[in-house]
Subunit: 98 residues, 2 copies
């Protein structure tokens, strides 16, 4: 039996899942890029990013030169948590396809 208690709720929510998937597929994303790709409102996006930061999954880098730009990236812990999440997805896919 799959242990659904282990399903990470922070990652599982659609908005944050899409963010995590982007961050894992490419190292860094600017706030604006995430917003454009994911078509979220500022408020919604920042709130999800804050949840992910609060969970320790995401960190930021500010560009000191030029325009005010914030880049978001996965932490080591974020990568690990996402890997664990993916393992659970795999179990679901496997069980659902058998």
């Amino acid at each position: 039996m799959i242990d659904f208690d282990k399903l990470d709720k922070t990652i599982h929510e659609r908005g944050r899942l899409s963010i995590m998937t982007m961050l894992v597929s490419r190292g860094e994303w600017k706030f604006q890029e995430l917003k454009d790709q994911l078509k979220m409102s500022d408020g919604n996006l920042i709130t999800h990013l804050r949840s992910l930061q609060k969970a320790g999954y995401v960190s930021t880098e500010k560009e000191l030169k030029g325009r005010k730009v914030t880049k978001y990236l996965l932490t080591r812990s974020g990568k690990k948590a996402f890997k664990g999440y993916l393992r659970l997805l795999e179990q679901i896919v496997t069980q659902g396809s058998s």
Copy 2:
């Protein structure tokens, strides 16, 4: 890019995802069996089952003889929707593992 808009919210929620995964792995489940396996309260379980029924994903069978027992099973449409959902999960897993 994965289209997260296509992610079926009815299925994606943890409780209902666990129900759907059970139903696809074995044809029929009694209410009591689901409750025992998933450790949900009556109210929570029935509410999720109702949502799934409302979406047309789940149907019921009542035993006419003996005790009052209700069995739950996937509809054709539920199987199809779940397959679509799994395809999206596969995309996430693939993208996340590359």
